[in-house]
């Protein structure tokens, strides 16, 4: 990052509306610690991180940690909202397409999900904003932290997830429906609906838990784009603003935060999977 063009000191002064000449520049650089050797700067930053101090923003002098803390709550709300929205849509769709395999509805839904998975999240965001804010005026263009403002950004993040989830759920349910106990239950006369909601869904959905965990990466990364477009006040937007202002401490803090969250989520997903799996033992090992 010290290879990059654009001097943070210069940017800061310009943003503050101060006329830049060599003397002022040099003084500001000294204040910001930019004229120390690279390793010294990096070293002291690292030491600070370990102490829990993420440094101060170049742009406005506030503590990086404080700025991040304000945004984290909003980003978490957005991520959770997207997850819930995508599950609410993909669960019924996934089950429906599995049960009515190769029917017209199945083919249509699979086509849509395939298209949805090929659309970048920024395109979805732009289209959503156009149709719902400008054409239809159903939602505010600048999303404040309200529920109404939450819907569009969540939808934007949720759509790529929906496509992946729907296909996975469909595959799991299909696999479950092919198992011998389903044929046995049908032969005994159990009504189809009871088979589906009794055993099939229960067994098929357990691996879905891990699916959710694996989407963390998409959610964290996608939040930057979506928050920027919809002006949702989360850490993603914060990061984008910091990039424009060359506010290195904030960028660094953001990356570290994201990494920590990501690793935590992966860990939890791993644990969850290992806990759910051996408890099942569902390969029909009966004592003969």
């Amino acid at each position: 990052m010290y290879l990059s063009p654009g001097d943070p000191a210069q940017k800061k002064l310009t943003a503050q509306g101060v006329a830049v000449n060599a003397q002022v520049l040099e003084k500001t650089r000294e204040e910001m610690g930019l004229n120390r050797p690279f390793l010294a700067q990096y070293g002291s930053w690292l030491a600070g991180v370990l102490r829990g101090d993420l440094g101060t923003s170049f742009k406005d002098g506030l503590s990086v940690a404080a700025k991040l803390r304000k945004g984290v709550k909003n980003t978490a709300v957005l991520a959770l909202g997207s997850l819930l929205l995508s599950l609410a849509v993909s669960l019924p769709l996934g089950v429906y397409t599995a049960v009515r395999q190769n029917g017209l509805g199945d083919r249509l839904i699979r086509l849509c999900s395939f298209a949805g998975g090929a659309m970048p999240n920024f395109l979805i965001s732009v289209l959503l904003m156009y149709f719902f804010c400008i054409r239809v005026k159903a939602f505010p263009v600048i999303a404040k932290g309200t529920l109404q403002g939450l819907f569009l950004p969540s939808a934007a993040l949720a759509i790529p997830l929906m496509s992946r989830f729907t296909r996975q759920i469909r595959a799991q349910v299909l696999e479950e429906l092919g198992k011998p106990y389903v044929a046995g239950a049908r032969a005994r006369g159990v009504k189809e609906r009871y088979i589906l909601f009794g055993s099939v869904l229960h067994n098929a959905l357990i691996p879905i838990v891990t699916l959710v965990g694996l989407s963390a990466g998409t959610l964290l990364g996608g939040s930057v784009v979506v928050e920027t477009i919809f002006r949702w006040p989360g850490v993603g937007k914060l990061a984008m603003d910091a990039i424009t202002a060359r506010d290195y401490p904030v960028i660094q803090g953001f990356v570290i935060l994201m990494a920590v969250v990501y690793v935590l989520i992966n860990l939890l997903t791993d644990l969850a999977y290992r806990r759910l799996d051996p408890r099942l033992g569902r390969d029909g090992e009966g004592a003969r």
Binding site: F114, A115, P120, F122, A216, G217, G221, M258, A259, Y262
Partner: protein
């Protein structure tokens, strides 16, 4: 219950052929873009701004009066080839590193795998945005940003495959017959591990395309006036009410292209699955 395994293999091959042909067609068209464009993609036209589609400009013009169709064509070149190049390089570097790690083990293995672990602790797009944002906007930086984590997938796959195959008798036989290490690695091991690696590579093309476009959209990838789908959408976003075609054309092109490459990846994976039965 033996179903027609032979017939499903043939169907899988046909599917791969269809999408490979489509993908190659797209690549060829975009390669020839400079010769196919009806108008100069960089020529601004203050009297034809935001004009709807007509005979001269099939997709209309953008807010600077440039022909959208020509820009979409040029953008295809950027998007498709940058993604292809990126995947090719990640594939080559990752596979090579992975094979070396699997073969030699030791310090090299430790170093490379630790590096991969560290890189994978970050969500890919977050790291890409940070890197591209800091390095500044350019196609090369965007590709670098996406590629930083991309190689790890191939490295891990290649490494575990080599570790497995190392024990096989045919490797010992090659050694005993005096084969040099390089020859063993490339002539004997590589063909056997190529399958899943290639599947992953093809599947990655679509997401790399989207990633680079996303970075360009944010302004930290390809920057205007260069024609690139992501930056085109970003530019046209504000004027969407006046000229929706300036967003829909590059957007549609992107979706169709990614869909074709994704389907190609899917069908290659199905083909290898079927023949692996």
């Amino acid at each position: 219950m033996k179903k027609g395994v032979l017939s499903s293999r043939r169907a899988a091959k046909r599917r791969v052929a269809v999408f490979l042909a489509l993908a190659l067609f797209l690549a060829a068209v975009s390669l020839a873009a400079p010769y196919l464009v009806p108008n100069d993609p960089y020529q601004t036209n203050s009297d034809r701004m935001n004009a709807p589609p007509d005979a001269r400009c099939p997709f209309g013009t953008d807010h600077l009066g440039r022909c959208v169709f020509s820009r979409v064509l040029m953008g295809a070149r950027t998007s498709i080839f940058s993604a292809l190049a990126l995947v090719a390089v990640s594939f080559a570097v990752g596979t090579l590193l992975g094979m070396l790690c699997g073969w030699y083990g030791g310090v090299l293995d430790e170093l490379v795998m630790r590096l991969a672990d560290i890189l994978l602790a970050f969500p890919q797009m977050v790291l890409a945005i940070a890197v591209a944002g800091i390095l500044g906007g350019s196609l090369f930086n965007a590709m670098l940003a996406m590629g930083i984590t991309g190689w790890t997938l191939y490295a891990r796959l290649a490494r575990s495959a080599v570790l497995q195959l190392r024990q096989e008798p045919f490797v010992a036989a090659a050694r005993l017959s005096g084969c040099r290490t390089g020859a063993i690695l490339f002539r004997h091991l590589l063909p056997n591990i190529l399958g899943p690696l290639v599947v992953n590579a093809v599947t990655q093309i679509g997401s790399m395309m989207i990633g680079i476009a996303g970075l360009s959209f944010l302004g930290i990838g390809v920057t205007p006036p260069a024609a690139e789908w992501g930056s085109m959408i970003s530019e046209a976003q504000g004027g969407m009410q006046l000229a929706p075609w300036a967003v829909l054309a590059p957007g549609g092109a992107m979706v169709v292209t990614v869909m074709i490459f994704n389907e190609l990846g899917d069908s290659v994976r199905d083909l290898l699955d079927v023949s692996g039965q």
